[in-house]
Symmetry: C2
Subunit: 293 residues, 2 copies
C-alpha cells in the first residue's frame, strides 16, 4: 500500500528538535512518513533528525522552500543561480536525511506569499521563463541523480505562482525537462482549483508522479470538505500509483470573521483523533479500492 | 426563472462606450442582464449606458471595486471613510443605471490583487476590523435604502482577502449588520475553495442571498470544470432562490507554461458559441430542476 505521511506544518513551523516527540505520535496515529520542509542551514541537525525519524519508525519526504531570491524563473541571473544552488542543497540535504523525494514549486516565482500581485507577462519574458525553468530543473535533476533522489515539481494555484498551475502544464514541462530524476508532485488542493477534473488530471500526470498530496478543498482534515475521495483513490489504483501520499491539514477550524485563512497557524488543541481518523480513512479507502500492496 | 447574466469582464476591462455593441450580442446569446463593474467617475456616461442596456433589452447588476484606499476595514480612519463614501457612490450609480443590486467584497482588505501577503492579525485588530466592517456596511445599507437598491457582500477565497472567506462567516456578518438593504453574494468559484460543501453552504446562506455567481472551479465556461451543477441548481430551487445569477467566465483556454492565470486577459477569439451554450446549459438545468418561474 502507498506510504501515508503527514506534513510537519500540521504541528509546527519551523519544525525543530524540540518537536521530535511529535514524530512518535504521528507513527502511533498510523502514519508511515513525515513530510518535512527542507531545513534551512542550522535549523535542524541532519544526523539527529535522521536518528529521530528512525527511532520513530518514520520515513521522510521533503518539501522545498523557494522565494523570490532563490528563483529558477527570475529575470536576474544571480537569483536563478541561487535557485539552482538551492536545488543542489536540497538534494544533498535529502541524501543526509534519507529522503528519496524533494517536492514543491521548484521553479520559483511565488505570488501572494511573496506579496506579489498577478501581472501581465510579455511573450518574450514568458518564453524566457520557460527556458530558465527547464535549464534550472535539468541542473537540479543532475544534482538529484548524484544524490540518488528525485525532484517533484508541483503546480500551484493561480494565486501562489504564475509559472505552473495545471497538471497539463506540469506534463508539458516534464516533456521539456526530460530528466529521469525530475517528476511531478500533484496536490488536490491546487488541482481542485485549476484542473478541469481531478481524476482526468491524475491520468494525464500518471507517468510523471513522484509524490501525491491528498488535501481537502479547504485544507481541513480529509472528509471535512467536498473532494470526492472514492474516485480519486480508485484512479490512483487504476494508474498503478504506488508512491507516497501526504496529508497537509493545516487549516484550523476557526471561522471567526477576519481570521486570515492563508496565514499558517499552530494547532490550538490536541488533534490526535483527527490525525488518526484521516490516516485510517485514507488507508481503508485504498484497501477498498484495490490499491497496490 | 432566475435572470441569467454575463460579466462585462468576459469581453473587456474596463467596459466603455465603444463596447456597447457587445450588449446586443449578449442578449442574442440568451442573457437577461449584464454584470458591470461600478464605473469609476467619467468611465461611462450613466444615462447613455442605461439607454444602451435598455436598447439591448438587458437588465444590469453591478460589481463594486474596492482597494486598500477605499477600505471599510482599514486601520486608517480616512480610508474607512473613503470606503463608506465609495459605497454611497455605488448606490447612487446603481440608481442612475437602473441596477437593483451592487455586489462584491465591500468590506475591502484585498490581498493578492493588492500585492499584499497574508499575515497574522492580533485579536484586538481582528475585532476592530469586524466592528469597522459592520459600521461601514450599516452606513452603506442606509445609502442603499435611500437609492432603493441592495448591497451584496461577497466572501472571497483566502488569497483575495483576509476578512470574509466562507458562507458561514458571511451569515455571521449579516447577523451583526442586520440591515434590510444588505445581503450576501455567493460565488461558486470561492465556495469551491472555502466552504465544506457548496450545497450545504447555499442552504446556510439562503435567507441572505441577493445575487449568485455560477462559476466553474477554474473560471472557464460552465461545464468545462468539475463543479457538480445538478445539485447546485436543485439546491437553488429548493431554497426558493429566484434572484439573479451571473456567469463570470473570464479564464482563457491558454495553458502555456508561464501564463499568469490570475491576470485578466481579453478574449483572443469570438466566444459567441460558448457564451450561448453556457447560458442555455444553465437555463435548461434550472427548468429541469424545477426552478421557480
Amino acid at each position: 500500500m502507498n506510504p501515508i505521511g503527514i506534513i510537519s506544518m500540521q504541528y509546527n513551523r519551523p519544525f525543530v528538535a524540540a518537536d521530535f516527540a511529535q514524530l512518535g505520535r504521528w507513527k502511533a496515529a498510523g502514519y508511515d512518513f513525515a513530510e518535512l520542509l527542507v531545513p534551512e542551514p542550522g535549523e535542524l541537525d541532519l544526523a539527529a533528525t535522521r536518528r529521530a525519524l528512525d527511532d520513530a519508525g518514520l520515513g521522510v519526504v521533503l518539501a522545498a522552500r523557494v522565494n523570490l531570491d532563490r528563483n529558477l524563473t527570475s529575470d536576474e541571473a544571480a537569483k536563478r543561480q541561487a535557485g539552482a544552488d538551492y536545488l543542489a542543497y536540497c538534494a544533498e540535504t535529502a541524501e543526509a536525511l534519507g529522503a528519496k523525494v524533494v517536492g514543491g514549486p521548484l521553479y520559483g516565482n511565488p505570488l501572494v506569499f511573496a506579496g506579489r500581485a498577478p501581472h501581465a507577462v510579455p511573450e518574450s519574458l514568458r518564453q524566457a521563463r520557460v527556458d530558465w525553468c527547464v535549464e534550472g530543473l535539468v541542473k537540479g535533476g543532475d544534482a538529484a541523480a548524484r544524490c540518488s533522489i528525485r525532484f517533484g515539481v508541483e503546480p500551484l494555484n493561480r494565486f501562489e505562482t504564475d509559472i505552473l498551475n495545471t497538471t497539463r502544464q506540469g506534463v508539458a514541462l516534464m516533456q521539456l525537462v526530460n530528466h529521469a530524476s525530475v517528476g511531478l508532485v500533484l496536490d488536490t488542493f491546487h488541482m481542485n482549483m485549476e484542473d478541469d477534473d481531478i481524476c482526468s488530471a491524475l491520468r494525464e500526470g500518471a507517468a510523471h508522479m513522484v509524490h501525491f498530496q491528498a488535501n481537502e478543498n479547504h485544507r481541513g482534515y480529509l472528509g471535512t470538505g467536498h473532494i470526492d475521495w472514492n474516485p480519486v483513490v480508485r484512479t490512483l489504483a487504476e494508474i498503478g500509483y504506488t508512491g507516497s501520499i501526504s496529508l497537509e491539514p493545516f487549516r484550523r477550524r476557526d471561522e471567526r470573521i477576519g481570521i486570515p485563512f492563508a496565514q499558517w497557524k499552530p494547532p490550538v488543541k490536541d488533534e490526535t483523533e483527527e490525525l488518526s481518523a484521516a490516516c485510517a480513512f485514507l488507508k481503508n479507502l485504498i484497501t477498498l479500492n484495490g490499491g497496490r500492496k
